[in-house]
Symmetry: C2
Amino acid sequence: MKLSQSFFYTLRENAKDEDSISSNLLVRAGMIKKTSNGIYMIMPMGKKVLAKIENIIREEMDAKGAQELLMPALIPEDVYVQSGRRDAFGSNMFSLNDRYMKRYVLGPTHEELFAVAASMNGKSYKDYPYNLYQIQTKYRDETRPRYGLIRVREFIMKDAYTFDIDEKGLDVAYQKMYDAYCRIFDRLGLEYKIVKADTGAMGGLLSEEYQAISSIGEDTIVGCEGCDFSSNLEITEVIDTTEESQEKEKEMHLMETPNAKTIEEVAAFFGKEANDFVKTLIYNVDGKIVAFCIPGDRELNETKVLKLLGANEMELASFEDVEKVTHAKVGFAGPIGIDCPVYLDRQVLHKKNFIVGANKTDHHIENVNIKDFDYVKAADLCQVKEGNVCPVCGKKLTFQHGIEVGNLFKLGTKYSTSMNLLYTDANNQLQPVWMGSYGIGLERCMAAVVEQHNDASGIIWPAEIAPFKLAIVPVSAKDEQQVSIANALYEYCQSKKYDVLLDDRNERPGVKFKDMELIGIPYRITVGRGIQNGNVEFVTRANGEKTEISLEDIKARIDAIYAK
Amino acid sequence: MKLSQSFFYTLRENAKDEDSISSNLLVRAGMIKKTSNGIYMIMPMGKKVLAKIENIIREEMDAKGAQELLMPALIPEDVYVQSGRRDAFGSNMFSLNDRYMKRYVLGPTHEELFAVAASMNGKSYKDYPYNLYQIQTKYRDETRPRYGLIRVREFIMKDAYTFDIDEKGLDVAYQKMYDAYCRIFDRLGLEYKIVKADTGAMGGLLSEEYQAISSIGEDTIVGCEGCDFSSNLEITEVIDTTEESQEKEKEMHLMETPNAKTIEEVAAFFGKEANDFVKTLIYNVDGKIVAFCIPGDRELNETKVLKLLGANEMELASFEDVEKVTHAKVGFAGPIGIDCPVYLDRQVLHKKNFIVGANKTDHHIENVNIKDFDYVKAADLCQVKEGNVCPVCGKKLTFQHGIEVGNLFKLGTKYSTSMNLLYTDANNQLQPVWMGSYGIGLERCMAAVVEQHNDASGIIWPAEIAPFKLAIVPVSAKDEQQVSIANALYEYCQSKKYDVLLDDRNERPGVKFKDMELIGIPYRITVGRGIQNGNVEFVTRANGEKTEISLEDIKARIDAIYAK
């Protein structure tokens, strides 16, 4: 591509409304442009990258025998009602009426329609297995879109679904996708970890995530200093290492604690530590008010709570609701005499003589013990902390942040049952099909690569997904010799069908170099004064290395770049 | 692809809810499946065809220097309000609220956003021209989706937009797209005509359509037996050949015409011809009631009316509204004393002593003349008829039906003005950019090809877009020699990266042949008993021709197929 004759721009200034390195660089490189909150145009230079990512994914999917199809995004709402997911998605799903007031949604993921599609082929066990996928636009009405392409409301997803007659078949299909994903993310140049994760609204038997390591990652990846344990914070078990207290249970004692509401304030008041307290958190869980009692130095893990209660959504209860169930001002909730069900973190079971809120304004109770109140159930409800004990080897847990770029789900028979995808087995009995579901967010991959591959000058694309592997830059557009040699090299690349960029703009060399660095072209040939000695300069973006290469040798160097 | 290990199905029965040959065949061939009214899944076998169509389009666009990008489908409604098109699209545009009640639409076409994108590059006249395009999903809430993929509510469109500094530049850009489209539709194997068309809601200076000839085409293409005139019926001028009547104007005369409402009934009553009448049609045009007087033997052309009145939508007025402006029952409307504006077809100007409705129930008026009533304007308001006079050469017009598969619009400065896409000219003055817009509907192309290329056995894909060019079919999956030779030929194709289908299913040969014919594979190699003499059978789908070819020669034949 000749830059002088192309649509091309870069921005010198940082983007004012972007909150991540990748989004700022992609906007400045003229690769994306925001159209509204969480929605972007992919501009020509960005589209070239996205197309390369798409091709890598397609190649690796096809290599595993997956077959591509294409689903609509506009789906009758009934479809999600039938599978029972309409409520689980809630307002995360865009919904609309058509002109005849029929209800539609914009598909956030396509398990249901793929089950319908699959039913066209698979009547008998002999028709299985197969793997169907699409590369298609998804819609999710995120509460808080952010980090540019990382959390958006419209994006392209590769979603694949496998269909097998039993769990063993699903295991094989799942492993194939696991391997394909490793190849895909390796080729994208991502540093990633594969972690066990929550099955969430998707349901099913197992979920694993591919997490691109990044400080802005919204997921916390739990690892271990002693073994290869790897898990999403959301589901990591807190190993209960609390020793049974040998204290004698004392008598409860109501204490006035004026102006002390937070754990810190109350601890200061009593002269105690945070873990001498049991804090009571009151939530609205799918419309019902529920209290959770956990050690004072821990955080509640909402994923664990939702799973335990079989619920879809939870948020902190309103002040009104808190005052209703505690009969006190906010800040003094406790398990004794509260007017709602109480769930207990299992670590509390080992505690004795702890302090809780009194359900009375400006009061706490000392020396409380398990026998002093009722609770529905005790379970693992808390967030694990860095340095906690590894559930596998007992050594210390470590934390990293990750961007979820892909996931794998062993769905089992959940969707085949609800969508009536059945096959006839060898004994002529109807059986539900075993499904798996596998997703990759394309724009998110693009952003994650930029988060991992950049420097002060801009993006550093891995060669396989760079918009162009090579840029040829004549230093002066007015120097006939430079222009003619740059053109000759360009023609050479064209003749070999190498996707190359010729920066033939009439701009100062600094502007051209800066642009090529900002948009992250991996290799640059600068045609400058050196040609008087028969040399051009070969620059590697990743390490800034510059070498003089003679005109005789440069074509071999170019061939080497494109041979990879 | 080995069929035995693939997701593949065909249907023996005709589809019950499909109203065209193409949709029935595509459904039966397992290429598409309806999910709701006017919305389809593209199944794996269909996706292969669609991908080939997409590649042809991309190649031809890239060859003209167009640059690909990708726009979102979810667009703030404001964008269309700014351009003034929100009302023009009306309920044809899907609209919705996001979770924060911000108003969005699903893009039916993207002139507005491309103008926004273009503004990122083009500040100076030196930055032009350029051509940007995308291959992206569009949404239109059609009143009556029909004919399978021909009139759908969600579909993929290649939409391109050109940006130039003046009309001359636009002419050049337009011609490039004209040429690219001819190449695209030629490669798709479509028989088509290029016709002048209405600029409609799009606006602009000129529009041409690529119409694939088909009896189910919803557009009437007007041609001429004498010259190469070609135009959409919607905009074809009715040449006014009415001779000035030499009759003397007579006195008006009110006549009771009981039970005679239609032109035919009234003509029978008066013993006259339909063209002795001037009929008065009453419409609701953008909410206002308007009457149109046209010759009794003509039909009103709504496109011409909308253009004349600068209106967006029109429909026949309700009975209530008709009775309100005529003060009579429906069926007796006339221009004399009617309570709404009257527009006249210009042919009426030459008529004398005609018959009109009396605006009085069961009455008409004879001997009416132009001087007897008021009208706003006389213009060409009628539909042209087959056999009418050609506006260019005066010979007879001919009619064909067409499916609009592509269109070209010279938009001029309409969108650049409304969306503020300006450039600085050589004199440092701000000027609006000249835009063109160019669309191709991908699924519609696919359907149009099937409408033109089919027979009683199924689809006959042109080789360049067939899902596979060649199918290899061993007659018996149990005959070791047949299977081994079929496999060897399949391996040969695989080694050459030829996209080939091996029908290795354990099915009767009739079933396999029928399936290959239904899905329209252009060439088939049947490996049957002939191999005992060293021969396979080579079958050409289009003409049913069968030839025995020796195993020595067959590879050369295969190479020849893929060389094209």
